[in-house]
């Protein structure tokens, strides 16, 4: 960990009742870097991301954003920090009650108090940035396909030009071509903004495309971390099994055999 680290997680623990989800997470993401956290379902990826965002309160540890521990901040300070974040949710999490443009402009209008007309212009521009025409802005989220919803979610995540962007399973549920389109958009948008990003995924094609560094989480711990190029020669059996998608190996799935 260095002084240039944008996001630092130190010894973060989280349990839900008797189930320990995060055992001792230690991670550091330097400014402008893209970290992808890989791992199977139920290994604690989403809980880790939500802990950083303040949606879940960790039981112990420190989460530093620009050197400040967000876990000890007041609610208003926390909200202030969140204005520097963008987030693309797994299911896009678009607001059903609002048209597409207002979804994209939401953070500008509600979070930053921007004039609606000005925010709408920015929203239309961001929609264009993710390959959607202005007339999509007047549609309801329910009228969009899964891929379009993801692109709207991405437009919303980048609308306020955040310093930090989180991507939660950005390609889940998409066909391979649309998944690649989303990956390209993520890379382009992040490069344009110079943002620091953490993505969580179990899609290795996506991880290889958008990551500078990759970390693997297993049973609530980071068991390996390295650059994108190092992952194929990690020397870690867990990582090897995961990236090659093998049923047999040290990671045992809880599957009942007939």
């Amino acid at each position: 960990m260095s002084g240039l680290d944008k996001i630092v997680l130190k010894d973060v623990h989280k349990s839900f009742g008797p189930k320990t989800v995060l055992k001792s997470i230690n991670l550091a993401v330097p400014a402008g870097q893209s970290l992808v956290v890989i791992g199977g379902s139920g290994t604690g990826k989403s809980v880790m991301l939500k802990s950083v965002l303040g949606l879940i309160k960790p039981d112990a540890g420190e989460i530093m954003i620009d050197g400040e521990n967000v876990l000890t901040m007041s609610r208003s300070e926390r909200r202030e920090v969140l204005t520097r974040f963008g987030m693309l949710f797994q299911g896009a999490a678009l607001f059903d009650s609002l048209p597409v443009w207002e979804n994209v402009a939401f953070g500008l209008i509600q979070g930053k108090g921007m004039d609606r007309k000005e925010a709408q212009d920015i929203a239309i521009e961001k929609l264009r940035r993710v390959g959607l025409s202005p007339d999509v802005g007047n549609l309801s989220p329910s009228e969009l396909s899964g891929g379009m919803q993801k692109r709207v979610g991405l437009a919303r995540a980048i609308a306020a030009e955040p310093e930090i962007i989180f991507f939660d399973e950005p390609t889940t549920g998409l066909d391979p071509i649309m998944a690649d389109v989303i990956n390209d958009l993520i890379v382009e948008c992040v490069k344009d903004l110079g943002a620091t990003t953490i993505s969580i995924t179990h899609d290795m094609a996506s991880a290889r495309k958008i990551a500078d560094r990759i970390a693997m989480i297993y049973h609530g711990e980071i068991i390996w971390e390295g650059t994108r190029d190092e992952i194929d020669r990690s020397g870690n059996d867990y990582v090897d099994q995961f990236i090659h998608g093998r049923a047999h190996g040290p990671i045992q799935m809880e599957v009942l055999k007939p």
């Binding site: 949710f89 999490a93 607001f95 953070g107």
Partner: protein, 262 residues
């Protein structure tokens, strides 16, 4: 297997109920706190007033009309045994304004609005829309809960006032059209029987019911979990708890306002 211990079961139920009441109180406190701290989302409050108020008018109107009419018929039949048919307008207006207007109106709106709120907020919860609000620097309490609470507290008295008028009208229609009561006398007796305190208590009850309707719908929806089944459960719990809160608070207000009268 351990034998069933009824004392332990009762203890668990009591503790569970107390814990739930504690969570509900904290939720209500947090929502009320949102009322005094800006921003206040006036546009959303007006939007909710439309959803709760205007869209509930048909159900409120029909309920009040039929109840007022049936009440007049029943009182006429009962009163005729003692040659007391003339009490119909007075009893109808008192029963409607003091009890049936606010309570039936509250229950009908609870069935319509609490369930809708729980389903909407529950769906927002399970599809991560509430988390998305937080990440967009927006307090979900102020954005989602406060407008619903304010709108329900303001709108219910208006709805109940309308329900009271329509309920009395229902009694008037049956009383003068079918039971042969004199229209002028009917209206005169109605006005003579009605006191200001009846109207005030009716409106206070309505405001309290509005608070509980929005509180229960919001609380169960906001904390719903477990996908579609969880949303369904939240919807049911919202309606049932709103019904209980309305009936209990009605009893308490009635005892406080009318308990001292002879």
């Amino acid at each position: 297997m351990r034998p069933f211990n009824p004392f332990a079961a009762i203890g668990r139920m009591v503790l569970g109920t107390l814990a739930e009441l504690g969570r509900l109180s904290l939720f209500a406190g947090q929502a009320l706190g949102g009322l005094v701290n800006p921003p206040i989302y006036w546009r959303l409050i007006l939007q909710q007033m439309w959803v709760i108020g205007y869209n509930s008018l048909p159900v409120i109107g029909l309920t009040a009309l039929f109840t007022g009419a049936a009440l007049a018929q029943q009182i006429y039949v009962g009163g005729s045994r003692f040659n007391a048919e003339s009490v119909v307008p007075g009893v109808v207006v008192i029963a409607i304004v003091r009890e049936l207007g606010p309570v039936l109106g509250g229950l009908m709106v609870a069935g319509r609005v609490s369930s809708a709120m729980a389903a909407e907020l529950g769906t927002m919860r399970v599809t991560e829309q509430i988390d998305a609000l937080t990440t967009l620097s927006t307090d979900p309490f102020k954005y989602l809960i406060v407008p619903r609470l304010v709108a329900a507290v303001v709108t219910l008295p208006m709805l109940v006032l309308i329900a009271n008028i329509i309920g009395v009208l229902g009694g008037y229609i049956i009383g003068t059209g079918r039971l042969g009561l004199n229209p002028g006398t009917y209206l005169q007796v109605t006005v003579d029987f009605l006191e200001k305190s009846d109207v005030y208590s009716s409106l206070v009850k309505a405001a309290v019911f509005g608070f509980f309707i929005a509180l229960m719908g919001s609380y169960h929806g906001y904390f719903s979990r477990g996908g579609a089944q969880g949303v369904g459960k939240a919807t049911t719990n919202a309606v049932v708890s709103a019904f209980i809160a309305i009936l209990l608070s009605n009893l308490i207000i009635t005892v406080i306002v009318f308990g001292g009268r002879g």
